[in-house]
Symmetry: C2
Subunit: 264 residues, 2 copies
């Protein structure tokens, strides 16, 4: 007897580097045969957009044939990565996808970068909606970075998550991949977010009219000596996978402030 | 004998509604005699900007006399709320302020709004730098909202935090104030972030050239029945104060995934 035809999972893919980036094409190539892939991504680079949404202006959205060679439907929008997820669910898919993938980002999103990252904010937006979600980032900012290892890792992880019977309700992972050939990568480590931050600086310049302007620059500093952080894992040639939550309550301080009757 | 002259605390104030908003003026008025107040705020509305930073373009910054009547130094920048905090610390104050205040926002930033909010992201940026920080929001979106109660609450809380001998290293509060006259407010409650979200919708329209565009809209839904949430407190006429953290690691899932040997 013929088996009941199993419906293909719907895989939503977005990013923050824009729909033409090599990273998003690499992600599409890595998973395109695992389900019905739909791409909804920004039409301009949105790095560092964090969890921005577009409130003060309307959004545009256009179908594109950029992934036609892979048989994949694609839409570009004028919005942020978070807008893309909202538009995809409400106006394109008209349902929740079975998984949402964001990236593969050109550049690291480990440690504190999770809060600045458009890649991770898109994934978080999906997780808030109850869609299992993964943000992928490669530790290489180059336009033409080598995504060979990242594609293998992404494919393996997506297959495992799609095979889960009951993924956690707000399943969300921040995955960072070292810029190494596949054989140099030691494996995937479940990690916590390292306490690290940027020592910011601004490069002050004069425009042709003699007026000052500033470029944000900065040096990354890791203050976390623990061996279960994403920064540690990446330094030791592992892929880091941090489970991420969107309840930002600091419960330890909550208890302390209640006990101390702060503001009473 | 004369007492040693105590140095005034430096109070950095920013917001996301822009430097001309009634909310930021109200906040300056509420605390201007408690220290040396310096305002660094965006020159355009930045609501919903989340933790966005400006990477792809340079920033502008200009001194303004908008708070001259209050004897307060003010700078407007072309950046996001997070950029404003970075610029303030690095290019204006050349030191960490003793406290950073953000707001008073025109509109709620309780529950899930904390991750979309430019107001809270500015406060979080300061907290990452080790600056005790509070974001204030009034549950009234009106341009000309009544900030009477909000000013009293902000003043009381800032005085209490400035009086702390050793505030926690990353002290960060998300404070929401009901739109009520002072005598109707029952007090300040330490809360957790409610699990609530928006049921998004997009208002689809045609431009004069016959092309589609979309406005983001949506209905707020609270799924959290607990009585210690910010949404509960606000519904019961309390001010909500949620201690906020920027370590987004989901430790429960981390343990579970390690135990299950996920991705091994």
């Amino acid at each position: 007897m013929a088996k009941a035809k199993k419906q293909l999972p719907v895989i939503l893919i977005t990013n923050d580097d824009d729909i033409t980036a090599k990273g998003i094409r690499s992600l599409v190539e890595a998973v395109q045969d695992l389900g019905k892939v739909v791409v909804v991504a920004p039409n301009t680079p949105q790095s560092g957009m964090g969890h921005a949404i577009t409130i003060g202006s309307p959004l545009r959205m256009n179908k594109m044939d950029i992934f036609k060679d892979l048989g994949v439907e694609a839409w570009q929008t004028s919005g942020t990565p978070v807008d893309c997820v909202k538009l995809a669910v409400d106006k394109i898919l008209h349902r929740r996808p079975d998984i949402c993938l964001s990236g593969i980002n050109h550049g690291a999103n480990h440690s504190i970068n999770v809060i600045y990252s458009g890649t991770m904010s898109a994934a978080m937006e999906a997780a808030i909606e109850g869609i299992p979600s993964i943000g992928f980032s490669l530790l290489d900012y180059n336009y033409d970075a080598d995504f060979t290892a990242a594609k293998q890792i992404a494919r393996k992880m997506v297959m495992e998550v799609l095979a889960m019977k009951n993924p956690d309700k707000h399943f969300l992972l921040n995955v960072n991949i070292p810029a190494l050939p596949p054989e140099k990568i030691k494996g995937i480590k479940i990690c916590k977010q390292a306490y690290a931050k940027y020592d910011e600086d601004f490069d002050e310049r004069l425009d042709p009219h003699g007026k000052k302007y500033y470029w944000l620059t900065g040096e990354f500093k890791n203050f976390d000596k623990a061996r279960d952080t994403d920064v540690w894992a990446l330094q030791h040639n592992y892929v880091s996978a941090v489970p991420v939550q969107f309840d930002l309550t600091h419960y330890t301080l909550k208890k302390k402030f209640e006990k101390n009757k702060l503001f009473q």
